[in-house]
Every structure is written in structure tokens, then in C-alpha cells.
């Protein structure tokens, strides 16, 4: 039995906002299972008292201060790659009927 079931594939596809074909679901079920089995190798290591590292060069709490550089796009630039524009604004799909 594979580690990742078809229903898990379908659930994660919703989380990723992806539409998958039946064939893609099948391939993902086996390929993701293979990868998840592989990454299980980390269970061999004792990590109980080990802190996590999210940032490898130790930079923390960086804020823009006096060296603030203002980068901004004007409306025309911001809209220049939009699929649909109306009245100088982006047109989006409805979100409440999802």
C-alpha cells in the first residue's frame, strides 16, 4: 500500500489550489509516496534537544530604518501584467462562491 493515498492527493491539491487530471493523480500518488518514504530517513536521528534553524546566517529582526529605500510602482506599472483590468483596478474572480 502506498504511503500517500489518492484521497490525500486530492486533499493536498485543494490546499494548493491545483486542478489535477486522473492521470496526474495516479502519478502523484506513487511519486509522492516514494519521496515521503525517502524523507523518513530523518527519523534515524535524535533531534529531541536540537533547536530549529530557519535562517542560516543568523540575521534576525531586520527592519528598514534610515537606509529606507522607497520602491514603489505607479498604477500603470502595477497593472501592466494584469490579465483583466477595469476602471484602473485588477479584476478578480468571486471568492464567496468557492
Amino acid at each position: 500500500m502506498s504511503t500517500i493515498s489518492k484521497s490525500t492527493v486530492e486533499h493536498v491539491a485543494v490546499l494548493c489550489s491545483l486542478t489535477l487530471s486522473e492521470k496526474e493523480k495516479e502519478r502523484l500518488e506513487s511519486m509522492l509516496s516514494e519521496t515521503v518514504d525517502f524523507i523518513g530517513v530523518l527519523e534515524e536521528l535524535d533531534t529531541n534537544s536540537v533547536p530549529e534553524t530557519y535562517q542560516v546566517i543568523g540575521t534576525t529582526n531586520v527592519f528598514q530604518k534610515s537606509d529606507r529605500v522607497s520602491v514603489s510602482l505607479d498604477r500603470k506599472e502595477a497593472l501592466s501584467n494584469a490579465a483583466k483590468i477595469k476602471n484602473g483596478k485588477f479584476v478578480t474572480g468571486a471568492v464567496f462562491d468557492r
Binding site: 489535477l20 530523518l42 536540537v50 530549529e52 537606509d67 494584469a82 479584476v91
Partner: protein, 475 residues
């Protein structure tokens, strides 16, 4: 020798002496692209008009200011190619993906901005695996770049277009980006020099993100001396990238190594115990012998098995990918999400899975803890040795199609580069000869964070005594 075959140093000397103009230099590169790129397919976009105008501007500056013009603009008039994931204002930037096929950025990446300010001339944007998800360019949504040494083989990836463009002299240097092995891999398989700087050394602003905690832009060049020149231009704190480092930028171009006496070189046993192709192993032995003959001491080291690094990388990179690609909604820019290729979908899916409720602790959090163990392992190593040396890739460039249906292909190819990238270290690959089939083999030199100087010096020292970096395929 064509002008397009010159290194940065040689081209700059020629421009200073007025042996030729930037326009002539750029035209030779553009002509060469027109002649051989239909076979190699390194470029997604060639920026002919833009390049000729920039070359004219460089020439005017050289005629009005003479050699002084190069003090402020160290790369003045030098043609380069950029991987197509660096945003270039007004120039189409695709990241190798159909989603961004028509995307024209309204802003400029810090890397390309700094290169422009240094006077260099963009001749084109190079092919890559879509969103850098691959190690061969076969995951590009447009076409596969061919390895100039053998057109039936891959150039490596994801910066495969940049590496192929440099070895076939379609530009003087190129820019790539590395997340797991995307500079060192293709540079090794194409027989050029590739530098992956320390994480944070070079700004990521305007680089289309793959995995934000490891993405590192860097140069792909004809030799280490050029890599140092380009790094000196690119390095430094950028207020637009909060993760860029405030550490001092050294003068990477000043050569300080006259011999390798006293240099302690770590040879990680776990790297050499891997299934390394015989030809690669042989060239590595020659490389180590050379370093030893110059006074260096080779010290056998026990480093963690790279399988743990691959697992950590797989989890972190996929998780960050799932987050970074969430922004592609087809509303503000780009096409809708149906345009992601299968590889993109697969990576996002795994990332969303490892981040999702119930699995976060088991996968993502545990991977970040093992990352700490890997960093500690390297720190201990660097208390005993100055640098680490190993093969860049476990084999020479594979044939086209070999990666098909291998979900872990990239990880297996990048097994020797991923440990250092997840720890944020810097590394450089240099060509160390050809295999029996006539394909380039690369050796990598790795050092601790922010110590690019030592690996550049050693690579340069090696290249001053050998000529492997001067080898060219007969395209």
C-alpha cells in the same frame, strides 16, 4: 581568437587599450548566438537592440573618460547573459515557465541592476527548468538546452542555459542562481567555473523565488579570476532584501595565495564513499594530488551521510516552493495555475503535505532541527580544516531523457552540493579534466560562510597552473 572567446579580464584590457570597441565585442557575441544557439538552445530571449544601445553608451563613456571610466564601472562594455529568473525591467522574464511567458517585469532585480551600474551589457536571458525545479533544463516549459560537449546530453540545471552559453562563448560571463546545486551542477557538466556564494552574500531582490532560505545568486564564468570580479560587483547588503548580509565585502579580486603551504584540506569520507563514476573519481584523485604537491595537507574527515541533507533539502525546498508559488494567481501577473508543469505541481504538493496539519512536526520542524545538526557538523569540520574538497557531481552529464520518471533525480545528482547549500556555505566548482568520453568533470571547493576569498584564491591558483578551464567543445 574571436572577441567572444575572451575572459572578462582580457576583454577589459582590450577595451582599455582601444584594441576593439564594446560594440564590436557585443556584436561578436550576438553573431555567435545567432550562429550556434539554434543547436544549443541556451537562450529564451536575446536582447539584441538593448545590448547594442548599451554597448554604444559604454563606448561613448570610454572615449570621453578613457581608462578612468573603468574605476567606477569595473565591467564596462562586457556582454553577459542572465538566467531568466532575474527580473529585468521592460525585458520579458519567464523563469522558464509558461505561466510567465508574457511577463514583463515593471522593476529590476538588484543583481541585474548592479551589473548594469557596473557597465556590463545584457545580451540575453537564459533557459532554465521552470521555476528552477530541475537539474537538467528538461523541465523548462520552452525547450531543453543541449550540452555543447555532446548535443545528446543535458547541460545540467537549473542554470543550464547560463552554463552552456559560457562554455560555447556566446557571452563573456553569465549569472545563475543556486538553491541546491543549480550553479555548481551545470557549471561542472559544461566545464566552466561556477561560484555559489554564501547565502545572503548577494541580494535576492527581484530573483523569482524557489526556496527563499537557500536561494543564492552567483556567477558562471570562464575562470575563477572572473568569478571574483563579478562577485565583487554583486556582493553586499541590499536594503531591499532583509536577508542579505551586512558583513563586510572583501576585495575578492586580490590574489593572496602564492603557495598552498599550510593549507588544510578536508576530504569527507562520506562524499567519496558514494557511488561516484570511475572517471570522476580518477580526476578527483589527480586534483587532490596536485593540491598536495603544492604544499596542502589532505585530512580525511567524517561528515554526516549526505542522505540526511537530501531529505532535509527535499522537505524544506518543497515547503518553501509551495508557499512561494501560492502567489501565482493569474490576477496581478502571469497566467492561471493550470499552466504549472507537472514537476512544479509535484513539488508544491509535497511541500503542502509536509507543512499541513498533523505532518508539520514530523517533517518540516524535524528537517529544520536536522539542518542545525548539519550546520554543527560543518562547524566542527572547519575547526580542523580550512576548506573541503569533493566532486561537484557524482557523474558526468547524463543523456537527454535519463531523468524521466525519477522523482528524486535532482536530489541524487545534487547529493554533493545540497549539504553545503542547506548550511548556507559557499562553494566553487572548477573543471579538472575530461572523462574518457570527452565530457567535463568538475571538482568543488567548499568553505565556511563568508569565506569566498579562500576558495576563489585556491581555484585561481589551480587554474594558473593548469589549463582544464581553457578546454572548449567543438560546436
Amino acid at each position: 581568437m574571436g572577441l567572444n572567446e575572451l575572459t572578462i579580464r582580457q576583454a577589459t584590457e582590450g577595451l582599455k587599450k582601444r584594441d576593439f570597441t564594446s560594440r564590436e565585442l557585443v556584436e561578436e557575441c550576438l553573431n555567435h548566438i545567432e550562429k550556434i544557439d539554434p543547436q544549443i538552445k541556451a537562450f529564451i530571449t536575446v536582447t539584441t537592440d538593448y545590448a547594442l544601445e548599451a554597448a554604444n553608451r559604454a563606448d561613448s563613456l570610454i572615449s570621453s573618460e578613457g581608462e578612468k571610466a573603468f574605476n567606477k564601472k569595473p565591467l564596462l562594455g562586457i556582454p553577459y547573459a542572465s538566467k531568466d529568473n532575474f527580473c529585468t525591467k521592460g525585458i520579458r522574464t519567464t523563469a522558464g515557465s509558461k505561466i510567465l511567458e508574457d511577463f514583463v517585469p515593471p522593476y529590476e532585480s538588484t543583481v541585474t541592476k548592479k551589473l548594469e551600474e557596473a557597465g556590463s551589457v545584457l545580451v540575453g536571458k537564459t533557459n532554465m527548468d521552470a521555476f528552477a525545479h530541475g537539474s537538467s533544463t528538461e523541465e523548462s516549459d520552452f525547450f531543453t538546452t543541449k550540452n555543447p560537449w555532446d548535443l545528446q546530453r543535458v547541460p545540467g540545471g537549473s542554470s543550464g542555459g547560463s552554463a552552456a552559453a559560457v562554455i560555447s562563448d556566446m557571452c563573456i560571463f553569465a549569472i545563475g542562481s543556486e538553491t541546491g546545486g543549480s550553479i555548481r551542477g551545470p557549471a561542472s557538466w559544461c566545464g566552466v567555473t561556477g561560484l555559489k556564494p554564501t547565502y545572503g552574500r548577494v541580494s535576492r531582490y527581484g530573483l523569482i523565488a524557489m526556496a527563499s532560505s537557500t536561494d543564492s545568486p552567483g556567477p558562471i564564468t570562464k575562470n575563477a579570476e572572473d568569478a571574483a570580479l563579478v562577485l565583487s560587483v554583486l556582493a553586499g547588503k541590499d536594503p531591499l532584501d532583509a536577508t542579505s548580509s551586512p558583513n563586510d565585502v572583501k576585495d575578492f579580486t586580490a590574489l593572496s595565495k602564492e603557495s598552498l603551504n599550510g593549507l588544510r584540506i578536508g576530504k569527507p569520507k562520506s562524499y567519496f564513499d558514494l557511488d561516484i563514476q570511475l572517471d570522476v573519481r580518477k580526476k578527483m584523485e589527480d586534483f587532490l594530488e596536485f593540491l598536495e604537491s603544492q604544499g596542502a595537507e589532505i585530512i580525511d574527515l567524517d561528515l554526516m551521510d549526505p542522505k540526511y541533507s537530501i531529505a532535509v533539502y527535499t522537505i524544506l525546498q518543497r515547503s518553501e516552493v509551495s508557499s512561494n508559488l501560492a502567489r501565482f494567481d493569474g490576477i496581478r501577473f502571469g497566467r492561471d495555475r493550470d499552466n504549472f508543469n507537472f514537476e512544479n505541481k509535484k513539488r508544491m504538493m509535497l511541500g503542502a503535505y509536509t507543512l499541513s496539519s498533523g505532518y508539520y512536526e514530523a517533517y518540516y520542524a524535524r528537517a529544520q532541527k536536522v539542518r542545525t545538526l548539519i550546520i554543527r557538523d560543518f562547524e566542527e569540520a572547519f575547526s580542523k580544516v580550512d576548506i573541503l574538497v569533493g566532486p561537484s557531481m557524482p557523474c558526468v552529464a547524463p543523456e537527454l531523457g535519463e531523468s524521466k520518471d525519477q522523482p528524486m533525480f535532482g536530489e541524487m545528482m545534487d547529493v554533493l552540493t545540497e549539504p553545503s547549500t542547506i548550511a548556507g556555505l559557499c562553494g566553487i566548482t572548477v573543471p579538472v579534466g575530461l572523462s574518457g568520453q570527452g565530457l567535463p568533470v568538475g571538482a568543488q571547493i567548499i568553505s565556511d560562510r563568508f569565506d569566498e576569498k579562500i576558495i576563489l584564491d585556491i581555484a585561481r591558483y589551480y587554474q594558473e597552473s593548469t589549463s582544464f578551464h581553457q578546454g572548449r567543445p567543438s560546436v
